[in-house]
Amino acid sequence: MLTKRIIACLDIKDGRTVKGINFINLRDVGDPVEQGYFYSEQGIDELVYLDITATKENRKTFAELVTKIAKRINIPFTVGGGISSIEDVGILLGSGADKISINSSAVKNPDLIDQLAGKYGSQCVVLAVDAKNIDGKWMVHLVGGRVPTQIEMFTWVKEAENRGAGEILFTSMDHDGTTGGYANEALRKMSKLVNIPIIASGGAGTIQHFADAFNVGNADAALAASVFHDNVIPIPHLKEELRKMGIAIRI
């Protein structure tokens, strides 16, 4: 049976791991390669590395980091942050990344999804969407959640699926950093709407939150950062407990 995935997200700034609380306060938590390796030894199913200060200048540095990660780590990892062209993706996949995630650039230029899926296959195209519930409507936000748009999230993810996205990474800005649980209602709705895997992101604080994302939200994977970085929830313990609850988990 295919298992639900537990994913650790590592935000990268200047080659170091950082976790932003509500996207603002940054705090250094270590070396991305060794931290990723540690998590893989702990049994994490996948890793996501986000270059949160992506600029043209540090693109090369990030690609070099991707190669270091790929050499060291024997599980799949996704890289994202500031990816805006086929060339960017070519460099990152060529450096050893398994998947790339695109966000703002796909909203600005949806054809990018078709182009990437056509050239590299849907399996490596993760559509990341940051959204906020405004007056009962989930609205897409850009640039790490700072810039609101008039785009409704469910319409957008369905379009992204049709254009060839292979997975959706949905971060609820209302839940991110709160440790109060994932946006399960929205997740559930999205899971009914699209036929590609959905990664829940934003809000993990307890083991029950992960269980709810899977059982209530129907998510295929749950992503977290702080609870892992701060060792609030040790990964082996999390996976054991989820399995005891009857959730399909790789141990």
Binding site: M1, A70, I75, A97, D98, G121, C124, N195, P197, R250
Partner: protein, 194 residues
Amino acid sequence: MKKIAIIDYGAGNVQSVIFALERFGHNAFLTNQANKIKQADKVIFPGVGEAKSAMKALTELGLNKLIPALTQPVLGICLGMQLMCTHSEENDTEALGIFPVQVKRFNSELKVPQIGWNQIWNLKCDLFKGIDEKSFMYFVHSYYVPENEFSIANSDYGINFSAAMNKDNFYACQFHPEKSGILGHEILRNFLEI
């Protein structure tokens, strides 16, 4: 030192296969040159992407004739495995015909592609030496090979499918051993010992 050729036809993340082999001390080389592939002790035929364009690339390089004629151990991974079959439903693609089986698209209530860790069982052959039944491997695919007489490992995703196959010197796995943690590495190591 074994000469390990990785067939280069522009198919996805071959770098991770090279890195995986490096982690246990083997240097593989990426090539599309017929003579280099023929002279290698082992050949790895990776692949991520779409079947029709992959077959087109192989044909343009003349590798569609070369690969089925190889006599050393060959390991197809993911799309590589599917291309070793006779035909794929993915854009109605005629493939290499090493395994006389058809590749089908998942047609179930489940999400497609299957992405993630799934178990393998009914393990046969030295490829799985030291690997326990129901071990977890990492899969990413929308098409599958049904169970057949060449299956040496099975898995399920709504339907039982072939997770690995063997026929003569040809080996193939649907999952990514290079991305399947320590156990995946053991499978690659086993392949190098065949």
